[in-house]
Point group: C2
Chain length 336, copies 2
Amino acid sequence: MKTAVIDLTHGSGGKAMSDLVASLFLRAFDNPALNKKNDQALLDRPGGRIVMATDSHVVTPLFFPGGDIGSLSVHGTINDVAMAGAWPVALSAGFILEEGFPLDDLERIALSMALAAREAGVPIVTGDTKVVERGKGDGVFITTTGIGVVPEGLDFSGDRCRPGDQVLVSGTIGDHAMALLAVRERIAFDPPLLSDTAALHTLVARMVESVPEIRCLRDPTRGGVGAALNEWAQQSGAGFRIREEAVPVREPVFSACELLGLDPLHLANEGKLLAVCPRERAGELLEAMRSHPLGREAAVIGEVTDDPGQFVEVETTLGGARLLDWIRGDQLPRIC
Amino acid sequence: MKTAVIDLTHGSGGKAMSDLVASLFLRAFDNPALNKKNDQALLDRPGGRIVMATDSHVVTPLFFPGGDIGSLSVHGTINDVAMAGAWPVALSAGFILEEGFPLDDLERIALSMALAAREAGVPIVTGDTKVVERGKGDGVFITTTGIGVVPEGLDFSGDRCRPGDQVLVSGTIGDHAMALLAVRERIAFDPPLLSDTAALHTLVARMVESVPEIRCLRDPTRGGVGAALNEWAQQSGAGFRIREEAVPVREPVFSACELLGLDPLHLANEGKLLAVCPRERAGELLEAMRSHPLGREAAVIGEVTDDPGQFVEVETTLGGARLLDWIRGDQLPRIC
C-alpha cells in the first residue's frame, strides 16, 4: 500500500490544504478560537501586560527518546513565555512541510503537540501550513509563538543580576542534548536516556508566588547553562561564579561527557530553568522549587560577582577555577 | 574576496549566533522591547481583546519585483491581524537559515523587514534564529507572528455573511502572483509587473471607522479570491455571486491569464482585501475604501446568496455563469 505523503497541493491554499488543516490540525488542536477557522485568533482582553516569544524548531531526528518535534515546539515556546514570570495563554504554530513527508508522521507530531498543549492548558489558537519541494526542507519545521500575561509588579529581565545574588537551577542538566546525541551517534544507554522536554510554567508560578523578588529566569536551551550565564553577564554588566560540584548532572550524562570531551554546562536542556534571586531569598526559592515535581532536584549552584570583565567562572571539583565561555562553533547542531 | 555566508555556528546558541543577532537583527529592527535581549518581549497591557496570527513564508525567489521575503513576511502577518479589524501592535520573527546563505542577502532581507515594520508602525519585538545544513532548507524561511488589539464591539468572522450582503475588493487582483510568475517563467512585462505587497491596517482602520457593521474581511493570498469566498461560504453556510466584469484586474495581468489559461480569481494577492458588509452600508464602505491610497480602485464585486449548496458563482462578462471552485492542485507553489 502506498503511504500517504505531503505534496505541493497541501500548501496551495486550495481544497487539499483546507482538508489537511481540518482533518489533522483542527481535530488535534480543537479549541474555540481555532475552530472559528479565521486567519487569526481572537482572544479575551488579557488582565495585564503581555509577553510574546517565538521559537523555530528544526530538531533532528524528529522523534527522540522522551519527546518529538511536536512536544518540543509546545514546551520550548511556553518556557520562553514563562521565563518572564508570565502565565502562557495561547500558542500559534507555523508548519513548513517538505513534499513527500509521510502524513502518518505529521499526524503523530500534531497529536503530540495537541497532548503537550492540553497538558499545559495552553491552546494552539491559530496556525499556517506551507509546503516546499522535496530537497528544499527537511521533513517538518515548526515555528511556535506564544503569548502570556505577566502578573502586576513582576519585571524579570536579564539585566537585573546584582553581585551577591544567588543562581539556582531547577534540576539535572544536559539530559536533552545527550538523549539526542545518543540517538544520532548510536550510543546505547541502559536504561535509555530521555530528553527532559517539559513545560515549566507551573513551576514558575510556584516560584513567583513564593519569591516575587526573583531577578530573572532563563531556560538554558541551545548553548546550555554557559550561554545563558554569559548572556546575563553581558546584560547585567556583572560576573558569575558557579560551583561545579553543586550542578546536578545525571551519572550517565556525566560519564558520556567525560568520554566525548563535552562540558555539561554547554549542553542544551528543554525542561530546566536557571533563576537568579537576592541572596536572602535563595533558601525560600529553593524550597518552593523542590516542592514542585519539575524542581525536585533544584540546587543553588553559584552567585553573581562584581566582575567588570563580565566573566563566568567555574570552581572545579578539584578546587581550581576555569572560565566558562560561550561555546565556539556548534557542538551539536539542530538540537531544538 | 570570499563572501560571508551562514554556517552552522550561527544557529548554535553561542557567540556566533549572538553576534549575528546583535549585528544584524537588533540593529535592523531596533526597538525597546527587542533591545532588552531577553528570550521574550514584554508589552504594555493592551486596551482590549487581542488577536494573534502567524504565517510561515517560503516564497521563491526571495527577491521579486515590488518586494522580497522580508517585506512580505511583515505585510502578510500584519494583514492577517488587521483582517480581524484589529490594530497590530507587535510582530515576532523566526528565521530558518540554510548553511551557506549569503550574509549580504540576509542583511538585505532584515533591512527590508525593518523598513516594512517601521512604515507600518509595528515593531518586531522578539525572534529566533535556527540554521540547517546545506540542502536541508532553501536559503531562508521566515515565520512571523503578529498580535493586535481589537476595538470594542467589533467581531469580524467568516461565519457572519448573510444573503444580500455585498462583497467588496480593495483593488486589482492577481498582481502578486503574476509578478512572481513573470520572474520565474521569464515573461517580460513592460513596464515590469510589481507585487502588490502592502500592509493594510490603515485601510482597515478607515473602513472600520466608517462602517463598523462590516461582517468580515480577508486578504485573498494563496488560492486567491476563489479560496477566500469558498471558505466564507463554508463558514457562513451561504453562497456567493460575483460579477466578473466588476472585478478590477490590470490589463497585463488579464492578458497573461488569458495566454496561460489562469483565472485571476485564483491568483494570490498580498496587498488586497475582500470585505462583506450589509447591503445598505456598501456605498459608504466603498467611499471609505476609495479615500485611502491602498483602496483607490476598490469595487463592489458581488453579493452573498441564499444557496444551501454554498456555491460561489461567477457571472461571466458574456452573460453566462460558472462555478468558482477552490483550486485543485497547486497552480503556483511557494507564492508567499
